[in-house]
Symmetry: C2
Subunit: 159 residues, 2 copies
């Protein structure tokens, strides 16, 4: 019963590509240093899936969309649909990305696999209390479900 965690039977969700995974890792490290914790691949009530949904100590909700290439950015212009599910919204890209493409009204993070920097803060658009409550509970649930799968690799219940 005391062995180290091993690969869960139902794999954890992961970023779509290695390039996206590198940016995601750097962003999560930077956020964690600020006491903000991020969950990857978080499904919202509108059917969209956030690359990173992060929660601060005070409950502030941040969504970060990771764009690993120009094509990745241009083929997915659905970011306005995320705004209703967070207090702040950022794009995160690597240092080679032409940042002029990123809409000026969004926050901007430049990241590599080891860390990240906030280049432009995101404007604050506060969630309604009821949606914040629902989101926080769902975040807690999904994080616990994924952790449970790691801690009990034989578990057959998904998230």
């Amino acid at each position: 019963m005391s062995e180290a965690p091993s690969m869960p039977m139902i794999p954890l969700p992961r970023p779509q590509s290695d390039a996206a995974a590198a940016i995601t890792r750097g962003v999560r490290r930077m956020l964690a240093e600020r006491g903000v914790r991020g969950l990857v691949e978080f499904s919202l009530a509108n059917g969209r899936r956030a690359d990173i949904l992060a929660l601060a100590d005070d409950g502030e909700v941040t969504i970060v969309e990771v764009k690993s290439s120009i094509i990745d950015f241009k083929t997915d212009q659905k970011w306005p649909e995320y705004l209703d599910y967070c207090d702040r919204f950022f794009f995160a890209v690597d240092a080679d990305f032409p940042v002029d493409l990123i809409p000026a009204e969004c926050g901007l993070i430049i990241a590599d696999a080891f860390g990240a920097e906030i280049i432009r803060p995101a404007p604050l658009a506060k969630l309604a209390a009821a949606r914040r409550k629902t989101l926080t509970l769902k975040v807690a649930h999904i994080a616990m479900a994924r952790l449970h799968r790691v801690e009990d690799p034989g578990l057959r219940v998904g998230e």
Copy 2:
């Protein structure tokens, strides 16, 4: 970047003994089948540490104290201090435990490493809204922090 999760640099918290870990695993599986997710070794604001703190879909908070032996039960009589941090409180023991020792006002779960059964439901004593909100946010944060350590074993930030 796409390898399977490996052992995090800062180990995840675990139950104190193999006997407690077996009961804990069975309880968490049973809860997960009901859509309730449990986090182990959760520190409460009063300094006590809950063996399992669990959250239902609707936000109901359950604390389960795991007792792996009579001695374990008799040397720790601090369970009333948990009542202020949950809606329902249970003891979980294995099939050999003399259940007459468990206070009648607490819920009772019998577990082994593979599952568990609720023998006696726990009375509902609803948390105040402010405490529920604080607890839910903290649960989300701790679960995300632990999951982050698994997903990024090189992470140097603890919970």
